[in-house]
């Protein structure tokens, strides 16, 4: 694998995570439990899709085959996507979405604060922007985890179950392959192992304050780095890519 191929794969990974999580959050539009939360989730979706746009634009440029960010988002098949499994999971109830958002915002803050120092200028610039936005996402997810965890018996029980159910998808966030090895050497990527302790610390602090239990690290599901995804990704793509598949290159 060349450095260019590794960089293409890495930027796809970052872009796809933002795109699919953003798409999931956008599904809350007009369905949020309160108007403010509805707006909050679509605002976060907008930040994420904006980040995906920037990352995929860069990925297309790195690839150098004349594809655009839209080609990458709308015309790749499921196996070519590199997003983590956790961002593909269906929204579930509001608590489930919040649990996933806390996990991902905590991960993103750890990741992007390091990527700001990347030797790749474009990744560093997009990361600097992401850090500012993710702080608000993390604050939002933290507030709601506290409210639901330390809320009623039912809200406590439901969000605890959400964290328990989703936990087996967290291990994969830190998985690395050849792409990481090449780019860490170049000072472009971060060693994901080095983020683990800080991520765990954020999660533990929030969960304990919310009177919740941190789930045990038992079996961890993996696959996305190889393009082997959850059943859900196909459904997301079927909806998200429908228009470009049915009417190729349609513009409006």
């Amino acid at each position: 694998m060349t450095k260019q191929e590794a960089l293409f794969s890495y930027t796809l990974r970052l872009g796809d995570n933002a795109l699919i999580l953003g798409h999931r959050l956008s599904e809350w539009s007009s369905k949020g439990p309160l108007l403010e939360e509805d707006i909050a989730m679509t605002n976060m979706a907008l930040d994420l899709i904006g980040r995906a746009d920037a990352m995929l634009k860069y990925a297309a440029q790195v690839e150098g085959k004349g594809r655009t960010e839209d080609d990458l988002a709308y015309k790749r098949g499921e196996r070519q996507f590199l997003c983590n499994l956790i961002v593909q999971l269906p929204n579930g109830d509001f608590g489930y979405t919040i649990a996933r958002q806390l996990i991902m915002s905590a991960f993103d803050i750890c990741l992007y604060e390091e990527l700001v120092k990347s030797k790749d200028e474009t990744i560093a610039a997009i990361s600097a922007k992401a850090v500012k936005e993710v702080k608000y996402h993390l604050k939002f997810a933290t507030d709601w985890t506290l409210r639901l965890g330390d809320g009623t018996e039912e809200s406590h029980q439901r969000i605890q179950k959400s964290f328990n159910d989703i936990w087996m998808y967290t291990g994969e966030l830190f998985e690395m392959n050849e792409v990481d090895a090449i780019l860490i050497k170049e000072g472009i990527a971060v060693d994901l192992n080095s983020l683990k302790a800080r991520w765990k610390k954020i999660m533990t602090e929030v969960l304990l304050e919310a009177t919740l239990t941190v789930p045990a690290d038992t079996y961890m599901q993996t696959g996305s780095r190889k393009g082997v995804h959850t059943e859900s990704l196909g459904y997301i793509l079927a909806e998200m890519q429908y228009l470009q598949r049915a009417y190729p290159d349609a513009k409006w």
Binding site: G50, A124, A125, I126, K129
Partner: protein, 161 residues
């Protein structure tokens, strides 16, 4: 052919699509103009990654330079240096306040606002500091929603990033 400064001055007049009382220059979106051969490159930076107004701003720039002696216009979106509310001029902040949007505090004092506890934000209608956050996310990506506990009016806060 117009020079870089003349083009910059023309573009400085373009109002922000969401908050028309201030311009894209006031907001710090308009970065710089560079002429390279027969192409006029206009550099803009988004306030938020997903700001939906960027495409419109790009169109407004093309529109403003249409028919002017500037050659080919290419609008470029840049992420570095990262946009910050600290770039908004004091004059523009006053315009925001008059428009009913509480202007962003300087990033060094906004920490308390981010936590949502510190009462440092003034109501743009009555000036009271007895205000409370309703939601960190408001009508656009760049705003949070507040209410004044004295005059009871809700208002937007241009949040600091």
């Amino acid at each position: 052919m117009l020079n870089e400064q003349q083009i910059y001055d023309i573009l400085s007049e373009i109002p922000d699509p969401e908050i028309p009382v201030i311009t894209i220059k006031d907001l710090g979106i308009l970065q710089r103009v560079e002429i390279k051969d027969d192409t006029c490159e206009v550099y803009i930076t988004p306030t938020y990654s997903g700001c939906p107004a960027m495409k419109l701003i790009e169109d407004q720039i093309q529109e403003a330079l249409k028919g002017k002696n500037v050659g080919k216009v290419s609008v470029k979106l840049v992420y570095s240096p990262t946009w910050t509310t600290d770039w908004i001029t004091d004059e523009a902040k006053e315009k925001l306040r008059k428009y009913g949007i509480a202007p962003p505090l300087h990033s060094t004092v906004d920490k308390g606002v981010l936590i949502g506890k510190a009462k440092v934000l003034k109501c743009p209608q009555c000036g009271s500091q007895n205000t409370e956050m309703i939601s960190q996310f408001g009508s656009t990506a760049c705003k949070a929603l507040y209410k004044c506990l004295d005059c009871k009016e809700p208002f937007d806060y241009f949040k600091c990033i």
